[in-house]
């Protein structure tokens, strides 16, 4: 008998090996509940993020408005420097 034939015989025998009994239902459901729990918290977080984003946008807009005259006055100063030179 070749090595391969012996392997095939062994594989045939191994197919008869039955797995033990198991019950994973409770554990699976616990994991599923745990993974789904953060989803419920997601909605308020999403609303909060949206409000924060809107507030930040207004802040940036006002800052831009304030920056323009500031940058203009600086450029004016640089122009004076050039004239003085």
């Amino acid at each position: 008998m070749t090595e391969w034939e012996r392997f095939e015989r062994l594989a045939t025998l191994a197919r008869r090996d039955a797995a033990p009994r198991l019950d994973v239902a409770a554990r699976v459901l616990r994991t599923i509940r745990a993974t789904e729990a953060p989803r419920a918290v997601d909605l308020p977080m999403l609303i909060f993020s949206g409000v924060s984003l809107a507030a930040a946008s207004i802040g940036i807009f006002l800052a831009m408005q304030a920056w323009s005259p500031l940058s203009d006055s600086l450029s004016g100063m640089f122009q004076w420097t050039i004239v003085l030179q």
Binding site: W4, L13, R16, D17, A18, P20, L22, V24, T35
Partner: protein
């Protein structure tokens, strides 16, 4: 989805051991958030999936973990189940992915180590009782553990699960040609491994 799920249920009834009766309504109910329905699906298929995952590991704790992972993954992708095949076929596909992923994560054992298959003839030729089957299974498992995950997967499906090339291709998500090529290479490597093991004795 409900129509498809119902078709799945019908297919399950027709398919006999491949699918259980009432899969469709339970799938639909599970999608609607009914955990009892999913528990029923788990109870219906956990033994079949458990037997399948037994090919991937002999470590009982790891085995239970793998079966658990299969059902969690199945739940998370349940919306993707189109009901075209019995639920068990779909679960086995996920199980193949989970098992293969686990094999890939594991450190490959050294091929150089002795095979410990001295008693092949005694084991294979002895009585066909549960103990002999268990021992044979352990030996085959130890032998295949010395191979790469791909080789191991294709040999497990073809020789332990007795899948056809088409079935193996479906479970692995490979083409049939790919399965044939992979099986050819794996057989060649295994023969070499067996000869080496034989020489070392």
């Amino acid at each position: 989805m409900s129509e498809l799920a119902l078709q799945a249920g019908a297919a399950g009834e027709d398919a006999g051991p491949s699918g259980g009766p009432g899969d469709g309504p339970d799938v639909q109910a599970a999608l609607d958030g009914d955990s009892d329905a999913y528990a029923r699906l788990i109870a219906r298929y956990q033994q079949a999936i458990g037997s399948y995952m037994w090919r991937f590991t002999r470590d009982r704790l790891r085995w239970e973990e793998l079966v658990h992972d299969v059902f969690v993954e199945a739940y998370l992708s349940l919306r993707g189940y189109r009901g075209e095949a019995p639920l068990l076929h779909w679960l086995r596909k996920i199980a193949t992915r989970v098992g293969y992923r686990w094999w890939r994560c594991r450190t490959r054992q050294k091929v150089e180590s002795s095979l410990e298959l001295q008693d092949w003839d005694q084991v294979a030729g002895a009585d066909l009782g549960i103990e002999a089957a268990r021992e044979a299974s352990q030996q085959v498992h130890a032998l295949l553990a010395k191979m790469s995950a791909r080789d191991r997967l294709v040999l497990t499906l073809l020789y332990l699960e007795e899948c056809s090339v088409a079935e193996a291709a479906r479970l692995c998500g490979w083409s049939q040609t790919m399965v044939k090529v992979q099986a050819f290479r794996a057989r060649k490597k295994l023969k070499k491994l067996l000869e080496r093991g034989d020489d070392s004795q």
